[in-house]
Symmetry: C2
Subunit: 234 residues, 2 copies
């Protein structure tokens, strides 16, 4: 009867149990992403998480099995968070130069708004693993390559829409825009005032030089003009 | 007599001993920089160095005292190597836009030519320590700030020489050039073909947009034209 009370025959208890397990897993991963974002993936250990989250080590092992599985799951959780905050909302906007801008703007925002609690994801992680081999290195490099491809594809779409010079190399433009964002991140870490405003001015300047004549030049001279232009289009 | 033979009264033995000690210290630091460049400063331990360099742990402790002293000395050795390969040779060239170019070009070269055996110094180290406190974090941040200031000063000198638009912000230009270099480094780590040629084209494009009318526009269209222009000036 006791078992009967705890596990009803209709199976709802099983769903509840699964959901409880899923919630614990999410709590663990949120904690793991927080530690890794500040101190790197190597700092994410089963012992430390057990202590910080007050979960038994055996419970953690039941969820992730090994340190490597935990690291891979942490990386995947961070990757999902990045996608949810940057790539997905940018993909939901109009294609062309607008999406390209949104990708860059949302990237800057994910640093500005502290989506991660430190600078590790994903530039730090990429620099740590780019020269290494194995599943973690593969996952980190894939994330960096995915981001680069997303930027490159957005350039190609803007070219197809006739908004960006068709002769320019999408790969090179993606590399330049990515670089300007990385430069802004460094300036932010060096506590430069106005780094975000300056970064957006630099990015708009780069887009102005690449844009075809269809968009008035004055549109790119300030973030305000650019936002007005986008609002006028919608 | 035995002591007399080993340590002559004129003190030359003392000098030799110092020089021997200095050589050992250099060997240790070269090994430490090599490990850190690939795996980060945290991987530099007295135990690992003792094993890899076949030096006793007590000998290592005699040279560096603690893990933190060893890490700080490793950082300082890496910083010196970077300066010797990038900042110092660039400072030896003519000031103005030429020095600004040389700083960027030598920065790219230090990655291209594998001055360090991995991508840790100094972008990886900076991302690891920028948000932290303590002597190591201070030393890493100082290195990043020094590099940024060197770039900014070179822009200001080029403005004073009338070679770069005096209205442009030296801080913003330094941030953009630094960003283009970081973007190139990422492209290299993602194994993009032509990343160095493309990076130099991007950097020259940026300088072209900033340059005053005194330098012909065609100078900036390729690295070849730019090198020719510099050779013609010397």
């Amino acid at each position: 009867m006791i078992f009967g009370n705890k596990r009803p025959a209709n199976g709802s208890g099983r769903r509840e149990s699964f959901s409880q397990g899923e919630r614990t897993r999410q709590t663990i991963l949120t904690g793991a992403v927080k530690i890794a974002a500040r101190e790197g993936l190597a700092a994410v250990t089963i012992g430390r998480l057990a202590k910080e989250l007050r979960i038994s080590k055996s419970g953690l092992i039941a969820h992730f099995g090994s340190k490597q599985s935990l690291e891979l799951a942490t990386l995947e959780a961070a990757r999902k968070l990045f996608k949810d905050r940057v790539s997905v909302p940018a993909q939901a906007t109009r294609g062309g130069i607008e999406r390209l801008w949104n990708l860059c703007d949302l990237w800057l925002q994910h640093i500005e708004r502290h989506v991660f609690s430190g600078p590790y994801f994903f530039t730090g992680a990429f620099l740590e693993y780019a020269d290494q081999h194995g599943p973690l290195a593969g996952a980190v490099t894939d994330t960096a390559q995915d981001w680069f491809n997303t930027l490159r594809k957005a350039v190609e779409e803007a070219q197809k829409k006739g908004e960006i010079d068709p002769k320019a190399s999408p790969k090179q433009i993606a590399c330049e825009l990515n670089g300007l964002m990385l430069g802004a991140h460094s300036a932010y870490l060096l506590k430069h005032r106005d780094c975000w405003r300056e970064a957006r001015t630099s990015l708009l300047g780069q887009l102005r030089r690449l844009a075809t004549g269809d968009i008035p030049i004055s549109t790119f001279t300030s973030e305000r003009n650019w936002t007005k232009y986008l609002q006028g289009k919608s």
